[in-house]
Amino acid sequence: MFANALWVMSGTALLGLAAGVLGTFSLLRRRALMGDVLAHATLPGVVLAYMATGTKAAGPLLAGAAATGVLGVLAVLAITRYSRVKEDAAMSIVLTVFFGIGILLLGVAQRMPGGNQSGLDRFLFGQAAAIVPRDVRLIMAVAAALCLLVLLFYKEFKLLAFDRDFGAGLGFPMTALDLLLSLGVVTAVVIGLEAVGVVLMAALLTTPAMAARYWTNRLSAIVPLAGLFGAASGVAGTLASQVGPRMPTGPLIVLAGSVFFLVSLLAGPERGLLVRLFRFMHARARTRPTQHRLQPQARGGDGA
């Protein structure tokens, strides 16, 4: 039991690390929910791969998931680039249309002769507690590759996040970089889906990066901090799920991440609510003497 928990912990911690690092850039690009969108966009790919191969082996299903995930990214980029529809609407459209097509295809697969498609949709709602050593090795390789990607293209991604037009002016291929970053998110989502499911993957891509945002204004510090929060959520959630017999690992990881976010929102030294309240009180205390001096004058004016 405990050895198993160690595998689950290292798997979820590595996923959290990679998702936190990549999520920081998605968040700054106003695409905090991109992970959620891509996770839903993989459904038609999973079903098509099953219909083509007739098996439920992980390899073809993951390839299918990645294929329609990439198609989803391209659709979001095309809609926002060639029309005035904003990113949020483009992402919602891709999410719902792709998922709708996935449901449609599931209906078709159901009627295939000799087909046993039950559990195909469950592919998307994985179980963290079922992570085995083979999964962890795959997650480890992918997480390392994704962190390396961010390290190599750090400067370019930073430009993309903060001033895309300036980057384009400098001659960087910003659309290609945008696509590269989105491909990174697709990879993280596809690997994470089977292990931890749609909602947990969306949370790992959003919450740690948001928590990190409250502690510093420097991107070079936010990125590792987000990775740290993601990994810590994985560890804390897995540990908490060992306490009781019926505590599910995935949701507890999300809740651990949410606690990190809440603490950061309140107490973060850079933009936290307490710091802002303190600054406000401080500013008010400093301006009070001026008001005192004004009051007698006003009264004097009344008497005259």
Partner: protein, 283 residues
């Protein structure tokens, strides 16, 4: 009334109500709220069951509606605390969904309690789920609930048209004119929550979530006037429902999924028209 007509009518009412309030979400860049609510209502049904011990539809609906409202209000509150909408939406719904799963497996693991079976309806069954008032058969229940939801949405948009319009386009000016901008934001959020949760019961999750964005975004590409956009959104929503039903019967596939896929085709059509119009203007 024939069964197919009931299905198309329920789909059209869902699409029209969601298209109406969704148009304002498109303008305010908050369309991901629909997907967020579809996940975030889980703790509502879990608590509804834990408190009353019943899985009856009204209990589940009240619990879901309360958590739908809570989701929208939390996103709004986080925004006022300086968290951008997309990020606030992400953190709120994932946390609430996780809370729901944890509550169910910790306290209600012995009963079957998941969104698919308890809250989300199936639009293909709508013609046979009648509303019985004592002895009187009032016809399909989904038609009544979605009709009521559409009436509420339409009334709110007609009565507060000017206020909702100015809050969507220029909240600063609305504030300067003395409007209570926050109150109107919360009004819109309440409409979104009522519409989605009502439609979940009638038509499942994917249809309302899709119709909250697709008709509004397609209409946004076709016109520059809000009044026309709203009328177009309702019309395009109805079109999605009809096309989706035809697709579903032609291929013998799930109706709600087909309606969402048809929505994709409708948006693609609007996208092409928008591009052609722009190219003609450029020449």
């Amino acid at each position: 009334m024939s069964a197919s007509l009931v299905i198309v009518a329920v789909g059209a009412l869902v699409a029209a109500s969601a298209g109406l309030v969704g148009s304002f979400l498109v303008l305010r860049r908050m369309t991901m709220l629909g997907d967020a609510i579809s996940h975030a209502v889980l703790p509502g049904i879990a608590l509804g069951f834990l408190v009353t011990g019943s899985r009856a539809a009204p209990v589940m609906l009240v619990g879901a509606a309360l958590f739908g409202l809570l989701t929208t209000y939390l996103v709004q509150a986080l925004e006022r605390a300086g968290v951008r909408e997309d990020a606030g939406t992400g953190v709120t719904y994932t946390a609430l969904f996780a809370l729901g799963v944890a509550l169910i497996s910790a306290f209600a693991g012995h009963v079957h309690l998941d969104l698919d079976h308890v809250l989300y309806g199936e639009i293909a069954l709508a013609p046979w789920d009648h509303w019985l008032l004592g002895e009187v058969n009032l016809g399909p229940r989904a038609l009544w609930t979605m009709g009521a939801v559409f009436a509420v949405d339409l009334a709110a948009v007609v009565v507060f048209y000017k206020e909702l319009k100015i809050c969507a386009f220029d909240p600063q000016m609305a504030g300067a004119l003395g409007l209570n901008v926050t109150a109107f934001h919360y009004l819109l959020m309440t409409l979104v929550s009522i519409t989605t949760v009502g439609a979940f019961d009638a038509a499942g999750a994917i249809l309302p979530v899709a119709m909250l964005v697709i008709p509004g975004a397609a209409a946004y590409l076709l016109t520059d006037r809000l009044s026309r956009m709203l009328v177009l959104a309702v019309g395009l929503g109805v079109l999605c429902s009809v096309l989706g039903y035809l697709l579903a019967t032609a291929t013998d596939t799930p109706v709600a999924g087909a309606m969402a896929a048809a929505g994709g085709a409708v948006f693609l059509g609007a996208f092409v028209v928008h591009r052609l119009k722009r190219n003609r203007c450029a020449m």
